[in-house]
């Protein structure tokens, strides 16, 4: 599979059709892979694709990561199904044009929940929960797919939520607040959750703005609550569920549970699945006159 992608990537770099191919290469220790930018055809030999490839590479296609400054006209990117969902969402939000990217897709067996858990193979014990009922293991939108792309039924529920979500939802409000308060005690606001996110696309994040400062910048618990609520709210109906925010968190705060909860709400209320269409408007920038309003007096 990866051989075919390497070959195609090499061919497109040689012909000059692509300026760069973003993919995964071996990392600095055996449990990890690392993003690589192949500019020369021979760089493609370094490409790998397996269960360790956790990074959501479309983050590099986000304008705030200096993407436009590099002057690439056409970028190749290797995507797992969920990554391609992120690209689709970026296009739906006008952050990217479809003809700026060339998507190499491949069947994905799932990825490890955290590189730390990699023991040489992918199995039930270390596979990320987002992969357990994934309907884009055969990716949706690709420019290159090794072999024949089978038809897949994607009408089912959209990503099964992590078991931890159910645990939290069952708690009392007070207990849930206490749980987050205790977990947020560890947060030191490194903003890894923001930086790895393919959809955090503001040039200046609201938390970095000072006039006015809506979110306390200091990492006391109040400020941490403010930040994570803001982040979650800004991703409602946009998050494509790659789970990188949790995976990247150096102190293991499962912030993507907020996003997963919102994903369920959006799907139930507005029947919207982010990352499946470039044309359908994300739910919070549109409306129906007969939207649900049971909560309104």
């Amino acid at each position: 599979m990866i051989e075919q992608i390497r070959e195609k990537a090499r061919e497109l770099l040689e012909s000059g059709e692509l300026d760069v191919v973003i993919g995964y290469a071996e990392g600095s220790d055996p449990t990890r892979t690392t993003p690589i930018f192949c500019r020369k055809p021979e760089d493609t030999d370094k490409l790998v694709l397996d269960g360790r490839c956790v990074n959501t590479l479309p983050a590099y296609l986000n304008k705030r990561h200096e993407y436009p400054k590099k002057g690439w006209k056409k970028t190749g990117i290797i995507g797992k199904g969920c990554d391609i969902r992120a690209i689709t969402q970026l296009i739906a939000e006008n952050q990217l044009k479809r003809d700026e990217v060339y998507i190499f897709g491949a069947e994905c067996e799932g990825v490890v929940a955290h590189p730390e858990k990699w023991d040489g193979s992918l199995h039930e014990g270390n596979c990320a929960s987002k992969c357990s009922a994934c309907d884009v293991k055969i990716p949706l939108d690709t420019d290159f797919y090794p072999g024949e792309k089978p038809e897949v039924d994607r009408s089912g529920p959209y990503m099964v939520s992590a078991p931890a979500l159910a645990t939290l939802v069952k708690m009392d409000d007070e207990d849930r607040f206490a749980f987050w308060r205790d977990d947020f005690d560890r947060c030191f606001k490194c903003y890894a959750c923001r930086e790895v996110c393919p959809h955090c696309s503001c040039n200046i994040c609201i938390t970095d703005r000072t006039m006015p400062s809506w979110v306390d910048q200091a990492a006391h618990t109040k400020g941490v609550f403010g930040w994570h609520l803001t982040r979650a709210m800004h991703l409602v109906g946009r998050c494509t569920g790659c789970g990188e925010c949790t995976r990247a968190c150096p102190v293991n705060i499962q912030v993507d549970l907020f996003n997963q909860k919102m994903k369920e709400v959006i799907q139930e209320s507005f029947d919207y699945k982010s990352g499946y269409s470039m044309e359908v408007k994300p739910p919070l920038i549109t409306y129906n006159t007969d939207d649900q309003e049971t909560y309104i007096r």
């Binding site: 206490a178 109040k222 709210m233 409306y287 006159t289």
Partner: protein, 161 residues
């Protein structure tokens, strides 16, 4: 005319974010008609319920509000045609988010009140105030309100004296 004064152990702090075309005018009407309603709501007037960023509500809770009320024009009545439709979707999501965060969702109220509905306005304010009063102080956030109080020693005024 006035209701009898009842003393409570706890009087809640409530923030109101309201649309100026309808709810704020409704409140005006309630005032000019000399209607009685609970005095706990501190009202912020905004051009449209669509302008009410969830950020305002988060900030209100952070600053010690026990309840927050958001109010705008009835669907179809928006001065800007569609602002309240956006607000309706956004707040549906936001309520769920706050609930998942561990805030009792009874502390967050959303209502449609037109400029003519002074009575509805007073009823909703009274009802919501009682509801929040029954819930008691928003202990979770109140505990975070002043993170450094225990670190202070003396003021420059005291040391000069």
């Amino acid at each position: 005319m006035s209701k009898g004064i009842v003393r409570h152990d706890f009087e809640p702090k409530i923030m109101g974010f309201v649309c100026k075309w309808c709810t704020y005018s409704g409140a005006d009407l309630a005032g000019t008609s000399r209607m009685d309603y609970s005095p706990h709501v501190r009202m912020v007037r905004l051009p449209c319920s669509g302008r009410i960023d969830p950020q305002f509500v988060i900030k209100a809770f952070e600053q010690g509000a026990d309840g927050v009320i958001i109010s705008g024009c009835h669907p179809g009545d928006c001065h800007y045609n569609e602002g309240n439709y956006y607000a309706r979707r956004r707040n549906l999501a936001f309520r769920n988010l706050m609930e998942f965060n561990g805030i009792d969702i009874k502390r967050l109220e959303f209502s449609w009140i037109s400029a003519a509905e002074a009575i509805k306005f007073t009823q909703i304010i009274d009802k919501f105030t009682n509801q929040v009063r029954d819930l008691g102080p928003n202990e979770g956030y109140r505990a975070l309100l002043d993170p450094y109080a225990s670190r202070l020693v003396k003021s420059s005024e005291e040391s000069a004296a």
